[in-house]
Each structure stands twice: as structure tokens, then as C-alpha cells.
């Protein structure tokens, strides 16, 4: 069983395909879950505090905007844990945790330079490309064992 980070880290489709193959999908909602279940924190909506951009300094310098560093506080640990990754190109509807293009660029960069097994694809537009999409991902995930 391998930890596979999906990009966008909010993708239901990728997370589902990873989990049905028996691996663990690293998705940002799991990081959010840890935050909102932390007792003693009350910082709506996600229980993120000014400490999070400070944690994000590990991944981006102090002159990088706080929103990037804050998002990296969530995504950085996921990237560190990842043994493999699936990356969708041309993300069109990235909002919230993936709502910042600079954060997304940094995330993809860190994943690619980590030298872990990584596959890059586009979202399918028709049945034909969907079959290829699912097949390639399945092959990739099965090859991780």
C-alpha cells in the first residue's frame, strides 16, 4: 500500500481511483479534517491561524504572500509523505485550498522534483479519452506495488 498524492489535491475522481486500487490517497480534506478537529482552536472557517503561514516558511520565503504560505502549511506535509503522485494538467476549477495559482505551481514543482513515480494527464473530454485515462491510472497504480 502506497501513499499517492493527487493533484488537484481536492480531486474526487483521482482520490477514488487511488483508493479503489487499495492505496492511500493524500487529499487536502484530510489535512482540513485534522485542523477542524483540533481542540482549543476557534478560527473560522478552517481553524487556520497566523501560525500556519509561519509553518509555510518551510516551503516559501517570508516575502511570499501569506496565502501561499498558509496553503503550503496544509499541502507541504502531504507532499513530504507522498510516495507517488498523479497530476492533472490544465486545472480549470481550482478554488479554496487550490485557489492560488502560485501555490499550485509550487506544489506541482515540489512533486515533480521529488523523484517519485509520477504520472501527468489531462481530464478526459470524451469516452475514448476517458477509457485511456482510467486505464493509464490503473496501470500506474498497480505498478506501484
Amino acid at each position: 500500500m502506497v501513499k499517492v498524492m493527487v493533484y488537484p489535491p481536492t480531486s474526487m475522481i483521482l482520490a477514488d481511483l487511488v483508493e479503489r486500487t487499495g492505496h492511500e490517497a493524500l487529499v487536502v480534506s484530510k489535512e482540513v479534517r485534522k485542523k477542524v478537529n483540533t481542540p482549543g482552536l476557534d478560527s473560522p472557517p478552517l481553524n487556520m491561524t497566523p501560525d500556519d503561514p509561519k509553518k509555510g516558511l518551510k516551503y516559501a520565503a517570508v516575502d511570499v504572500p501569506s496565502g501561499v504560505r498558509g496553503r503550503m502549511a496544509l499541502l507541504g506535509p502531504m507532499i513530504e509523505e507522498a510516495d507517488a503522485a498523479i497530476v492533472i494538467r490544465g486545472d480549470d476549477c481550482t478554488l479554496g485550498c487550490t485557489g492560488c495559482a502560485r501555490t499550485n505551481e509550487l506544489t506541482r514543482f515540489l512533486l515533480k522534483t521529488k523523484r517519485i513515480p509520477l504520472i501527468e494527464l489531462d481530464y478526459p473530454e470524451d469516452e475514448f479519452s476517458a477509457k485511456q485515462f482510467v486505464h493509464k491510472i490503473r496501470e500506474f497504480l498497480e505498478g506501484l506495488n
Binding site: P8, T10, S11, M12, I13, A15, D16, E19, R20, A25, V27, V28, S29, K30, E31, V32, R33, K35, V36, N37, P44, P45, L46, N47, D92, C93, T94, L95, G96, C97, T98, G99, Y123, P124, E125, D126, E127, F128, S129, A130, K131, Q132, F133, V134, H135, R138
Partner: protein
């Protein structure tokens, strides 16, 4: 730790949210179920939720998709009604991906049938200069 998951059915599925709810009640674990327009939200202890999710997926593997959710259902910190209106950002992503779920379903069904994956159709070819010239002359004549 408690965990929450969405169970989303693709439009091609014959499984209704109410069928899923019923199945969960039958399984008898300590799981809360909330029906929504796109499927259900389930929450409970992590191991129970994981196990339940697997069994629900088995009801229609090509058409049921499972996604983790950070917040428990109805949490006021993320609820539209309590937080000045407007959908959570995650909602748009789900809506976006839901549009291509039927395609993914067909891909999964093809895999399940062991269908051979078609190789790519010839890559799109750029027209040559001569071909382009013919096209331009036709268009502007």
C-alpha cells in the same frame, strides 16, 4: 478520529441515494447518513466509515465515487446558512468533476470488462503550407 466522506453516484447509475442509505442501515455500524442531491454524506469513526465506503462502492463499482470531507456534515463553521451565504469552494470542484463522472464510469466499466484500450487516433497533424494555401484560397474566393 471521526471521519466524513461523500458518496457520489454518477448520473448513469441506477443506485439512488435512498438505496445507499438503506444499505448503510442494513450494515448496522454506527454511521450517520445524510442524503443530498448528488448522493449521501456519511460520518462516524474512521474504521467504520472506511469499511462502509468499500461496501457501498461494491453496490455499483463503476458508478459510485467516494471522496473525503474535512468537515462533519452540517458543521456551522462551513454552513452556507451560518456563514454569510455562498457555497464552500469544495462544492464547485465537486460540481466540476461531477460533469465528467459519466465518462469516468464508462472508463471503469470498460476496465472491468477487460476491454482492450484503444490506442490513440493519429495525432492531430498540422496542415502543410500547400494544404493551408488551398484552404485560404477556398475560403476567400
Amino acid at each position: 478520529m471521526k471521519s466524513t466522506k461523500y458518496v457520489v453516484t454518477s448520473q448513469d447509475s441506477d443506485v439512488l441515494p435512498s438505496d445507499i442509505a438503506l444499505k448503510i442501515y442494513e450494515l448496522g455500524r454506527e454511521i450517520n447518513v445524510k442524503e443530498t442531491c448528488f448522493g449521501v454524506i456519511i460520518d462516524g469513526e474512521e474504521e467504520d466509515v472506511e469499511a462502509t465506503a468499500k461496501e457501498i462502492r461494491a453496490m455499483d463499482p463503476s458508478n459510485i465515487f467516494i471522496k473525503d470531507r474535512g468537515f462533519p456534515p452540517g458543521d456551522p463553521r462551513r454552513c452556507r446558512g451560518h456563514r454569510g451565504g455562498g457555497a464552500r469552494p469544495g462544492f464547485y470542484m465537486m460540481q466540476h468533476e461531477s460533469e465528467i463522472l459519466p465518462l469516468i464510469s464508462r472508463g471503469l466499466a470498460a476496465e472491468a470488462r477487460g476491454e482492450e484500450v484503444p490506442s490513440s487516433i493519429g495525432a492531430k497533424k498540422r496542415p502543410s503550407l500547400e494544404e493551408l494555401e488551398v484552404m485560404i484560397n477556398e475560403e476567400f474566393s
